[in-house]
Symmetry: D2
Subunit: 461 residues, 4 copies
């Protein structure tokens, strides 16, 4: 099976040129002007962009949370991702307290078997006695080369500074990368208790009990711990200027601190949490939405590479029956929102079309940098010879309005309902196979593979 | 009883002029040129400075630590302080876990009864359940308007972030000030365990297991917690550039963050901990001595008011029998060093004589700022009408060599042995009474009073 | 002649206490509680503050500008100053191109002969060939220990970088201080020409042609030149956050850079320049008013001592006939505004009453710091024994509305018309003589003396 | 004519993969794995890197200076460049005062006719009356899309701030880029005069009279002027931490400020200027070499993209007869040093081999970024379809010692004499033609073309 994509404008993190791309079996094998090779299938990409498929390194499919489960599983979630131009994602396996890490991995491998695109997993560690540190090395050998730790959610996911340090010290040896949920959970708990005691239970209090200072503090601490352990660190879903400054300051000192943000922090703000009729609950996730002025600081952070990656933290819960569990108190609202489908669209429109970033930087933050950061490059994340043919043909001119009524995610609302965007994925190839084309789905459950990842190539930037 | 000090050069934090000072009973009642009043006693201060007595806000007299007790009690320690020009100090009462705060206060009041100069106490809080928060208000009513918390020494003194926040929130209401020992104890414990496991037990490892990053992190966290609580915070014994930068950065944002350093951090460095024959143990205290280059950063911090106060953290243990408890492992060396007697001398010589600070700034950091910070001003800390006649006549020209063989502290070594200094206290008055004069002691145990302090006058700077 | 001020609350830059102050002849000779001395005159200051008289280090009396002359001379201007609590000022002698510095001094000494309060002069240097550098030393010997240079007004007052460097190099030797008008005049000239060419001639264009970046740039350059010359530098009338940051950054590096701002930059903003009926012209001075957000940055700069002094840049021109000279083009409006009378009132009300600064800091910025900076201390700038009895009795509770109809400045409008302030000078003593009391004038022309100043005591802060 | 480069490891600013590259005529037309196309010539690049040819944007061939002329002309200089892996350079046409810009261009076009590789020109502007601003647009139409201005060399090349602003304002309209020599020439002149007056005439005084503060100041000013003009700015040959901080600070605020440094600032230091026997003169260029500690700051600036480009400022003068012109005074030493041949070698060895930067970043700073910055991209600066086949086959393992006895530059010494480097260009193609191979020269004078450049693509980073 071979495919020839004719005449597209090929965009990578660096390049921008027009050529033909030849795919043989699952791999890109030639790029040239007017290639004379024959192919089983020819796609005319004139006037379109040819980009490496998006890589979303932060999703939560089929995840239990507070008595319910996120509404997308690996089939529906990856199908939605693909429609939006994302051809690979990294989800999270979760070790529960007392559980062996290996058992957690097996459970999540099982969940991932129905994936329609390639995927990998980070391992969330909640319990790390000295005796089990060796298990981290086993994970790395399995291609799980990143571990997530929580500085928030005391009593559930939060680990103390000694555990964080211990885990980082281990990654300093084995080359893996610690991903950090950085909020000071102890203090946030005090704010939450106080709010509830005072009867402040509406969704907006989810935000008001999680100040940006608590995020900035935790980011600073995470980086200090990493520095003492001699390890790099990657801050997930960075949401505020306070946190951004801490990353910037560390990078200025040459510390290998990295961070991602998400479209919701770039485009939504705390006002959304005050929507009437409990609709604010649709925007309850962690960290919470911030005051509007933070948005431009985050965009600036993307522009100058203080932020390397934009992921979605896709963790959908339906408004009906799921978000509604928290009608009586924000503390019972399942935390999370849907977004895996809209990342490339939103960043292209509000980033490239609005003049905030170049088209190369767009490809870099949605695909190339995630691949390099998490050991998928050059197999994924670029258009070059030998790379997996995870290729998206992107129409820069098509316009549509984001809506729950048309999206492919299995959730009954959209955080970006009514957003008009120009630019969308038209044809999506996963390892050479067209899995979606002009809105029609050709993929199938289980065709996605688990990808063993290399260790963090820390030197790259 | 009245005393007239004739013709001295009066130095305050702002002023520098020559005049006579009249003291009636315990109080300064008149200042003038050629005052015509009669007095019971006349002191000729020509060619000398007349300054407000030093105030040392960080001492540990008669303090139990690791099975022994600091070697100065309130009599010997205050006597030594007075000889060095310090006429008031604030020591620490220590609540042990499970103990009522009030009980701790009573114990330390008792210890202080033999003081030869006026004194007050900070309250060290190690255990602060919700139910006992109200006890903090009682302390304030008793004139104990500052509380010290530890971010180090897990299992002994360390409290968690939630406790710190709770205490700060309470001081935000009652006007007291939280003093913070800022080092990340959890991580330091990991370093210590590792060093000991590797057989690294010499005194130098006390320093090598307490990196400056651990101090900088904790300072940043303490300030973030204070900011969230809406309270000021005072960092004790700040020792490193890392920590200093965090204070500076907060002050630049207008946050009421304050800090003290100590002469040992300004004048000694980590090399001293490698002295042979276990003599490095003489320099084992916390935070540890740092690399030499930190010294000039700290001096600069004093000059531009990032550091407001210089205290001593006087906590003497004899080399024989006390420091020696740690011959087998640095972790068993009692933490602390002597210094209450030398503070004004060292800062005058290395600050004023060396051109680093003005004579006014010298008075400010050793007396005026401590008084303002801790609610003693204007009763103490200045030369003005109505103030307690805690007055020191300072000879700027006398020279001597600091030595354990001549000092008045009850400890068998000096951290500053062999340091030559120019400038020393000649006559020391405490509430109008001459308690020492040209090396002769006239004071007596028990004449010092416990001073009820006002709450922090946060607005002052 | 002696005066006893009874029972006032004496406020200095550091102190705050209640006592009696005895003045004999021109000097403060005693301070005490219930002083038993007799005096020719006794003033009851109960409930009032007793402060050192204000020192305004930036005024332009009787100054030629663009074919007219500032409307206050040294008699009317100093009288107004005194009514507002200012008992000493430093005006500017101006060397015109080609003129010998000495001649300029003689002209301005002559102008000052009618002063009602003590005064001194800075020397504005516009022409400094190598051969005349020696004249700067002569000035210092005459007590003119500060020189002002302009980076703005090309062709009139502006000097080039080589001249600035040369002058600074000379002050590095003789101890004097260079005061800098820091705006990039070359670029501003381009903006002005362009605006006029485009017919943009209303008063607001005075501000729009002088961007804050032009001020920030010049401040940075002035400080760099000073650093290379090994000299301190004092930035006059700093107006913007851009400029403030440059001073702060230099001070953080330990560079002796100092700056003043003026009440107009703290309390007025660019909107005032758009007042109808040409009234915007009342606010035409240089640097111009800025956007409102700069105000809080400047207040923060005062609080943390990035700005040491607040002066007025008093340079009044009547709206009628003087400001009106520029009806046809903003470039012809005489630059300057009145303010010498209102400085203490405005800073007390908007600083102390509004909680932005302490009462001690208020005294420091209006009196003590100016005195220390410009070699007048301790003769002026404090309440202490031996100091000139330039004393103001300040009623903190009296309220009034600032207005041209009641002020004492010889100018037909007030920049602060309608501002309500609480707190005003009640009794004003100049060298022991009551020159104004409760609104009645007792002073007279010519009683003020020219004060020879010491060189800059650079070490003080 | 076609060439097939087999099996090389292709390195671009982003990518790193193994493939074949097909060149037809002057252009890259296909890249693939095991390409089946036939070609006239096949090169086996196994074990070698295939990179885009280096682009040196700062050279001075055949340049008059102080009565002599730089010793390389466009033939010898470009030949040496090619041997070192550089296949395109941008030299400088120089307008002399009073000359029409167009005339300057014609003179330099003529000089360039003997170039062996493609080249372009920046235009140095020394005289820019209002009336001639339009000439800048003509240059842009000719493909001269960058202009260099001097803030140094008063009386010769230096222009005033108004001229700089005017030129920048024009580029803000026409899309060109201003390159700035940023040193405060006025102050430097004073230092030089003083040194000479004091008889300090050895080469070292060239450095001691040009302090880093004078560079930092000028960089700040250049950026401020650019900001006011709404134009980007590019700082040439940035040499010091002082200057770097100004660029970093501007970039943090989102200002489009860019900068290059040169290998000499990364690898040599002021000590080299004190070499005996007048050999210090070999290192006399502007800005001068700095203290050693600046080097690591500059490397860090490269790593985090504060510095985008490394050029050479190649401006060779023979030691004999040329440098010797300044035996009697450093002020007469022709300013400049040779380097065009060694740039890629030095940066590969000291950058990539030493672990300071990745191999991708190396390609970026020597080729891709220069191309993007100066309107040559994607024609030059990358390996992709449609690009000019300016391709270098780089042997990462070959070792040699840099020496004047073996280099190809027409100059009798090397600044890097004795430096051992690993990695060198093996085969050099210019638009598809092999011009050098394993040390043999196949190029010829005049084959290089003048390249019309596009305007600055300012958005790229």
């Amino acid at each position: 099976m071979s495919t020839l994509i004719r005449n597209g404008r090929i965009i990578t993190a660096e390049q921008d040129y027009t050529a033909d791309v030849l795919i043989e079996k699952e791999t890109i094998t030639a790029i040239g002007s007017s290639l004379q090779m024959k192919a089983d299938k020819v796609i005319d990409a004139s006037g379109k962009y040819v980009i490496p498929g998006g890589i979303d390194v932060h999703t939560h499919m089929d995840m239990p949370f507070g008595g319910t489960t996120s509404s997308d599983d690996f089939e529906t979630g990856t199908r939605a991702a693909a429609f939006g131009g994302t051809t690979c994602l990294i989800d999270f396996a979760i070790q529960t307290k007392g559980q062996k890490i290996r058992e957690a991995l097996d459970i999540w491998w099982k969940k991932g078997e129905i994936s329609t695109i390639d995927f990998s997993l980070h391992m969330i560690v909640t319990d790390l006695p000295e005796a089990h540190l060796e298990d981290m090395n086993e994970m790395v050998r399995e291609g799980i080369t990143s571990f997530k730790l929580f500085m928030a959610y005391p009593g559930v996911l939060m680990v103390d500074d000694a555990t964080i340090y211990r885990a980082m010290k281990k990654t300093a040896e084995n080359g893996a990368l610690v991903c950090m949920h950085a909020e000071n959970g102890s203090v946030i708990d005090m704010f939450v208790q106080k709010a509830i005691a005072e009867g402040k239970k509406a969704p907006i209090y989810h935000a008001l009990t999680r100040p940006t200072t608590a995020e900035g503090e935790a980011v600073n601490r995470a980086i200090a711990l990493a520095q003492m352990a001699g390890a790099p660190v990657y801050i997930v879903h960075l949401s505020s200027a306070d946190a951004l400054e801490k990353v910037a300051e560390a990078r200025d000192r040459g510390i290998p601190a990295f961070a991602e943000t998400c479209p919701q922090y770039l485009l939504l703000s705390i006002e959304d949490m005050e929507r009437p009729d409990f609709e604010g609950a649709k925007y309850v996730f962690t960290p919470p939405l911030r005051e509007k002025w933070h948005q431009e600081k985050l965009w600036a952070g993307i522009k100058k590479n203080t932020l390397q990656v934009v992921s979605t933290d896709h963790c959908p819960f339906c408004f009906k029956e799921q978000k509604e569990l928290g009608r009586e108190s924000f503390a019972k609202i399942p935390n999370g929102g849907p977004g895996v489908e809209n990342r490339l669209q939103l960043l292209f429109h509000h980033g490239v079309n609005m003049g905030r970033i170049s088209v190369n930087r767009w490809v870099e933050i949605v695909s190339t940098a995630p691949a390099k950061m998490f050991g998928l490059y050059p197999r994924k994340g670029t258009i070059s010879i030998g790379s997996d043919a995870d290729v998206v043909i992107w129409d820069p001119n098509t316009e549509h309005t984001i809506s729950a009524s048309t999206h492919h995610m299995r959730v009954d609302y959209s955080m970006f309902e009514g957003f008009k965007v120009k630019g969308n994925a038209e044809t999506i190839l996963s390892r050479g196979e067209i899995i979606a084309d002009k809105g029609t789905w050709f993929g199938k459950a289980g065709r996605g593979k688990f990808i063993k990842r290399d260790v963090f190539a820390g030197a790259w930037k």
